[in-house]
């Protein structure tokens, strides 16, 4: 019996020497042209051609189209992935960001007024939504926005000669990027626990806040899916200790147009435009991590940002912002992502923006209610869901010996992407579920029906869960082998 193969072969295995997508090749230089080339010495040249595939245009098109069929995506499946805000990415955002004039513009060419007008207005809209006084679009992802935020906090303290402030307070349930960012910024991390209702343990906060506190990093609603209603108290404690408040915008979708981070007392915020403002996730990126700041941090915003004087838009650089924390990218950040967010925000407008959080909350609370009616346990049953909520399978795991991962994998067989599993780590056997506002009641009902069916399976045939998924291109993969017999690049002749 032959070994089972890949559903779609590697592109390298489709390759044949001498084949190629010839209409894509520039002409081979003729003799006269070749003579114009400055001689490149042999020692700087490549000895043999790189092992890239040699395939026809149709072969390439078919290969990558077939690979695309092996993916779940928002366009094809319900994707209730908590903390990721997998909402519909309107096609118009892509279409208008890919107008040829936008695509062909070199970043160092004279400043394009039409494009910059969009960026300037985007900055203004983000300021209004967050209650901040300045916005820079230059961070290229949420984690880079976090970096910019903490670097600004450090710059602020340093400018005041307050150099002992090197601690960043982070709740235990925080996303891993928060502590990783603090380390990248040369800070140490002070973790504080959460209380029984998913709120911050204020006594623990008071105990750690002090003269070494640079700031605190928070999401609100928290990663536990509940709103921290004592946020004003948190702000008071941290500000009194001399620290600043950082708002991680991962969960901004929950409060869009309802509460503004600036009004809650935050000094700096990053937004994930690829979550709240619906730019595509692209199988892992690109994102955009725009940052907003209150008055104290304005001088430190990362450059470049867009300014407007006498009706003319221009990039503001080191010249105008000498105290900036500096540049984070080779040019202007993920400009094309920002343009997609701009189109989305213009289509939502003032009223549409508030509806985002309202219907995200409606969908989440509806799902939480239906799932608990079906026998699942909400981690924080006494609380409202924000735009997401947590189900814990701690009882099921004991009774039926199935895990949250088993449920997640089985959901794939029902044509639903798995919710986030095992995050936050505080809640045992958890599923973090975020439906987003763009899903219909019918889609939510289908999901609940699938979860009810899975619950029946747990009791009657748990093995069906443990061995799931059954209908995907592959079954569960051997992660241990992936590390121990590391195979991360194709090699010829295997």
């Amino acid at each position: 019996m032959s070994e089972p193969g890949l559903r779609e072969p590697l592109i390298f295995d489709l390759s044949k020497p001498g084949r190629g997508a010839a209409s894509q090749f520039p002409p081979a230089p003729d003799g006269a042209e070749a003579r114009r080339t400055v001689e490149i010495p042999q020692r700087l040249r490549r000895a043999s051609r790189p092992r890239l595939p040699e395939v026809s245009e149709l072969q390439a098109v078919r290969h990558f189209t077939r690979l695309s069929h092996l993916n779940f995506s928002i366009d094809s499946h319900f994707y209730p992935l908590g903390s990721c805000t997998m909402k519909y990415n309107p096609k118009a955002c892509n279409t208008y960001a890919m107008l040829p004039e936008f695509l062909s513009r070199h970043p160092l060419a004279p400043e394009p007024q039409g494009f910059l007008a969009c960026m300037f207005e985007l900055q203004e809209m983000l300021k209004e939504i967050t209650g901040m006084q300045g916005v820079s679009l230059s961070p290229m992802a949420g984690a880079q926005g976090e970096f910019a935020g903490v670097a600004m906090i450090r710059a602020y303290h340093r400018a005041r000669n307050d150099t002992a402030r090197t601690e960043i307070i982070v709740p235990q349930a925080a996303h891993g990027t928060n502590p990783a960012t603090a380390t990248m910024c040369g800070c140490t991390v002070k973790e504080i626990p959460c209380d029984r209702n998913g709120g911050i343990d204020l006594a623990a906060l008071e105990a750690v806040a002090g003269p070494a506190t640079a700031g605190i990093m928070l999401t609100n609603p928290s990663t536990l899916g509940v709103f921290e209603h004592r946020i004003a108290e948190v702000a008071r404690i941290v500000h009194q200790a001399g620290g600043l408040l950082y708002y991680d915008g991962a969960n901004l979708n929950a409060i869009l147009g309802k509460v503004r981070p600036g009004d809650m007392g935050f000094d700096v915020i990053h937004m994930n435009l690829h979550k709240t403002f619906s730019t595509p996730h692209g199988g892992g990126g690109p994102g955009s991590g725009a940052v907003g700041v209150g008055p104290r941090l304005l001088p430190y915003l990362p450059i470049p940002l867009v300014g407007c004087r006498d009706g003319r838009y221009r990039w503001l650089t080191e010249r105008e912002l000498p105290s900036s924390i500096g540049r984070l990218s080779g040019f202007m950040g993920n400009a094309g992502v920002n343009l997609r967010a701009y189109v989305y925000m213009r289509m939502l407008g003032r009223q549409g923006m508030v509806r985002v959080s309202e219907f995200a909350a409606l969908n989440a609370n509806y799902l939480m209610k239906r799932l608990t009616a079906a026998g699942y346990e909400a981690a924080y049953p006494a609380r409202r869901a924000s735009h997401e909520f947590i189900i814990t399978l701690r009882n099921e795991s004991r009774l039926f010996e199935v895990t949250a991962m088993d449920v997640a994998k089985r959901l794939l067989d029902f044509g639903v992407h798995a919710p986030t599993t095992y995050f936050p780590l505080l809640v045992p056997e958890c599923l973090l579920i975020e439906p987003t506002e763009t899903e219909t009641k019918e889609e939510l009902d289908h999901f609940c029906d699938a979860m009810s069916e899975i619950r029946r399976e747990m009791e009657r045939e748990p093995e069906k869960l443990r061995s799931a998924p059954h209908t995907m291109p592959v079954r569960r993969l051997d992660d241990v082998r992936a590390v121990k017999q590391l195979d991360i690049a194709w090699k010829p002749g295997r």
Partner: protein, 131 residues
Amino acid sequence: MSEQVPEYLQYTRTHEWVRDLADGQVEIGITDHAQQALGDLVFVEMPQVGRELKAGEACAVVESVKAASDIYSPVAGRVAARNDELAKTPELINSDPYGAGWLMRVDRGSAPADGPLLTAAEYAQYVKEAG
């Protein structure tokens, strides 16, 4: 799954075990409870032989595919030996956490005894309460 907590070893709250050897040396590893919580181990990062450690200092890392955990030296002293077998076969920690899966030996020299370590009974109780 039942977890082994041998009587003859001492333990820490961070799930290391300590075995007294002759000549002021101790052997250090991670407990059965710890290896079960981590799952299949795939990588171990260990300190250089000769490095001076403080008690409670993070000195090694054990990694599974889903988690990574720091190892804190239960005692102060100088690293006298390390289990280089683990570089090739980190799964020894899973299969034999108190034997072939040992991590390192530390020479305590004439250093005074550190804070009290847990007895087997105390550690078993601690794990039960924490879990």
